[in-house]
């Protein structure tokens, strides 16, 4: 095992010491603040035990914001280290840890929570439902994600960070070449979060198939719901593969098996195979809901119905189908041979086709529309050219033979940042600006939003565009330094400056959230953008039961046509019935804590202790099995009161774009 007890707590590095102190102060500060405000009961009742999809979604988004900060710091550290040749800010070991945690956090603990969070808030509303199919399971999903994220994040404080890249290739990630427990954090923390995500996938498949309002056929669903549904199917298909891969990694590292080791006739390439069987569909899990968000934003702010709805649906299904057929393109150079490489080159290039269809549909939606340059729309507009760069460089990489030149160079790094950031991060920002009033009852400030936008987009392009050229000139990824003779210096410096500008942009977002929470006008309508889909047919923020009366859907863009024909939005109080809502539950929160404890023990290879904690997990499941509480009914008087309050406000200003 070789655990050095005197080295458990990471010491001796000023940066790490600073962060340890910062984390401690933040935790203590949070505890003190909540105690001072006497809000523990409120916290428990309203947030820790909630099964409300809207609250769960907001908590996911909060995790995403915090993790964006941590992952961003990692990125800035990398850029600071590589700004000049032969820099010594971070040594090689630290640099390895930083790029590993940067990758894992940005994809699994920033992008996924943001997207799943927005899915959680919006999808049930868009289909006219009152919650998801399995609300308590939904809470379990969130708290498991949270437990996994927390477990992963303490690695650099205690035990040591994983350092074999976010892809954790064997044999490097195995015990023989990376002793110590850092990579155990990778295997176990991600596994816990992954279980939560798989449950979310199943939850949303059932929700979308079984809980749509009457009249909402599949071909009348909003695009964001369609893409969220398809992403849930991809989660269902790919996460079980990752679960097994991580379990096998755990076995190799902690129990001495020989799946991916060099000894014992193991096969390290099998790790890469299984990882990417999951890893490629994963990027479509993040990008498809993002595309859905762009569809909503573009059609709303072009004042036009989405162009080519049917082809959009077929494209999304096509992309999802193909996404399971391309995974080897991530390891063309690993020696699978020309036949394998050729087949996967072709399937990879094929994915560009449905993606292109979507691009044209977005452009045609804007054509002859009346475009409103809100912050949300600007993110969508910037997405189009930036994602094109990412996508076309992807087709370059897709040619297996050519990829031997590009593979693992900065060209590759630039490509995936040009698809992930415009494709996912811009979309998340657009979604936040768009749906913020629906979530919180006030809007994000548009001026600050524009500052956020410009700094972020300019900073992003300055950071990553040079990396294409650096890559073509021979600069490789995951390299902590370079010599001056390479000539990489000037472009590396430009890139690092760009990262600083990017960070300022993120700072504007955080400031906007704070400023708007304090100063923004609360007296806004429930439909400030004059939007098209059903989530806007509710109060802002949304009533806890979503809809007093389940809407009847007669067309695509249901809400738009209800407004146009002035039918379906009025509330006849005689039609009101008691609404059945699920109980809150502390069990999801407790279960995640037990999972976290079990995970911690397993990471530190205290197998007996982990087994005991495992019993705790089973105890939670047994407790759940014997729980026959069946929710409560909201009395009609309470519904009347809540509906009166927000519907009166609505009679005044209809269109409210500040």
């Amino acid at each position: 095992m070789g655990i050095k007890w005197d080295k458990i707590l990471i010491t001796g590095d000023p940066l790490i010491l600073g962060s340890q102190i910062a984390i401690l102060l933040t935790i203590v500060g949070a505890v003190v603040l909540v105690t001072y405000l006497k809000k523990w009961q409120w916290l428990w009742r309203e947030w820790l035990t909630t099964v409300d999809h809207k609250r769960i979604g907001i908590m996911y988004i909060l995790v995403g914001v915090i993790m964006f900060f941590r992952g961003g710091i990692d990125g800035l550290l990398m850029k600071a280290q590589t700004a000049t040749a032969n820099e010594h800010l971070l040594d090689a070991q630290h640099y390895n840890e930083v790029f590993t945690t940067h990758g894992v956090i940005m994809i699994l603990f920033m992008a996924m929570p943001f997207l799943i969070g927005l899915m959680n808030v919006i999808v049930p509303l868009q289909i006219g439902a009152r919650d998801v199919a399995f609300p308590q399971l939904n809470a379990v999903s969130f708290w498991l994600t949270f437990a996994g994220a927390m477990l992963f994040n303490i690695s650099f404080v205690i035990g040591g960070s994983p350092d074999a890249g976010w892809t954790a290739y064997f044999p490097l990630a195995g015990k023989e070449f990376t002793p110590g427990i850092g990579n155990n954090f990778y295997a176990v923390a991600i596994q816990i979060a992954g279980i939560g995500t798989l449950m979310t996938g199943i939850n949303f498949i059932v929700t979308v198939l079984k809980m749509r309002a009457p009249g909402m056929t599949l071909m009348r669903m909003p695009m964001f719901t369609w893409t969220s549904f398809i992403a849930s199917v991809i989660i269902w298909a790919s996460f079980p593969i990752f679960t097994v891969a991580l379990a096998l990694m755990t076995f190799d590292r902690i129990f001495g098996t020989h799946f991916f080791t060099v000894g014992g006739d193991g096969n390290p390439m099998m790790w890469a195979n299984l990882f990417w069987l999951w890893g490629h569909p994963e990027v479509y899990i993040v990008v498809l809901p993002a595309f859905g968000m762009f569809s909503e934003v573009i059609s709303t702010f072009s004042r036009k119905m989405l162009y080519g709805y049917k082809s959009m649906v077929f494209s999304v299904v096509g992309i999802a189908f193909l996404s399971m057929l391309v995974w080897v393109h991530h390891f063309f150079t690993m020696g699978a041979g020309p036949a394998v490489n050729s087949v996967f080159s072709i399937t990879t290039m094929m994915i560009a086709i449905p993606t292109g269809v979507k691009m044209f549909n977005w452009l045609f939606t804007m054509r002859k529309g009346r475009i409103q340059f809100t912050t949300a729309m600007m993110w969508a507009l910037a997405f189009i050219p930036c994602f094109m760069i990412g996508g076309t460089t992807g087709v370059m990489l897709a040619m297996g033979a050519a990829d031997y030149q590009y593979h693992n160079s900065l060209f590759l790094v630039a490509h995936f940042h040009y698809v992930l950031i415009p494709g996912v991060v811009f979309a998340v920002f657009a979604g936040l600006y768009y749906w913020w009033p629906k979530m919180f009852g006030h809007m994000l400030n548009e001026k600050l939003g524009k500052l956020h936008f410009w700094f972020f987009v300019i900073g992003f392009n300055l950071t990553f565009l040079p990396m294409f050229f650096l890559g073509l000139n021979g600069a490789i990824r995951r390299s902590y330094t370079y010599s001056a003779e390479t000539g990489f210096g000037p472009l590396m410096l430009v890139s690092s400056i760009g990262a600083g500008i990017l960070a300022i942009g993120f700072g504007f977002l955080v400031y906007n959230i704070y400023w708007s929470a304090r100063y923004a006008d609360r007296n806004i309508t429930s439909d400030p953008w004059d939007a098209r889909t059903l989530e806007w047919a509710t109060a802002s923020p949304v009533q806890f039961y979503n809809f007093a009366k389940v809407p009847e859907v007669k067309s695509l863009d249901a809400f738009w046509y209800m407004k146009k024909q002035n039918k379906g939005l009025e509330l006849n109080e005689n039609e009101l019935e008691e609404i059945h809502m699920p109980n809150n539950s502390g069990l999801p929160f407790v279960m995640a804590i037990v999972f976290g404890i079990a995970g911690f023990f397993l990471i530190f290879e205290w197998k007996i202790a982990a087994l005991v904690a495992l019993v705790g997990i089973f105890a939670c499941l047994i407790f759940r099995s014997f729980d026959y509480k069946d929710g409560f009914h909201v009395p009609i008087d309470e519904i009347k009161k809540i509906e009166k309050a927000w519907r009166k406000v609505d009679k005044e200003v209809k269109n409210h774009v500040s």
Binding site: G201, F239, V244, G263, G266, M270, L274, F626
Partner: protein
């Protein structure tokens, strides 16, 4: 979430939430198909990587495998009989056949544990080679699923004994039934592609 009760349907399908639970469980089983497929893929890739250690021919004994197979298959059959009794509203019949099912299942697990202990004594552990790592993790995952299923079924049976046959308890019984049948379906492929295949070549 209205109850949306349809009394014409079998007990386990009567409420809308129950229908969603059952449907959701089928989706979960689909994910489990993919999970086991990954374990099979790993076993397939590793199945000839012996590191100079024992091979399938050295270890597998057909008699034990056949007994395990008959035990599990019969338990899937008796589980079907249990649900059949449930559809005839026979709580006692349901519980009786479930007990038989779980006894057969426990017999399966017992035999499998004995089989593994025997291999370890022969010097074939999961740390010996990639083949054995793949074997033990695939079979072990299946065996663990069966063991968890036994515990889960006992919990359900306690609830049925206490609360009788209601739409909720019927749904729970139906779902554990699906789970149990699924594990036998997985075993068909273990029997075929691990044991039979290993004893041919």
């Amino acid at each position: 979430m209205s109850a949306n009760v349809n009394a014409a349907l079998p007990l386990e399908y009567q409420s809308e939430q129950s229908r969603m639970n059952i449907f959701g469980f089928w989706i979960f089983l689909g994910a489990e198909i993919i999970l086991f497929a990954t374990l099979f893929a790993t076993y397939a890739v590793m199945s000839h990587r012996y590191a100079g250690g024992p091979t399938q021919h050295d270890l597998f004994e057909i008699n034990g495998v056949m007994i395990e197979t008959i035990l599990l298959l019969t338990s899937s059959f008796t589980c079907g009989l249990a649900i059949y009794e449930m559809h005839r509203n026979q709580k006692k019949g349901l519980l009786t056949w479930m007990v038989i099912t779980l006894l057969l299942g426990a017999g399966f697990v017992g035999m499998e544990v004995t089989e593994f202990v025997h291999y370890v004594h022969e010097g074939a552990t999961m740390q010996t080679s990639a083949f054995l790592s793949g074997f033990f993790v695939l079979l072990g995952t299946h065996g663990l699923h069966v063991s968890v299923g036994i515990g889960w079924a006992i919990m359900i049976m306690i609830q049925i004994a206490k609360k009788g046959l209601t739409p909720i308890t019927a749904r729970k019984a139906f779902i554990i039934g699906l789970y149990w049948h699924f594990l036998d379906v997985v075993w068909i492929f273990i029997f075929t592609f691990v044991y039979l295949k290993g004893m041919v070549s």
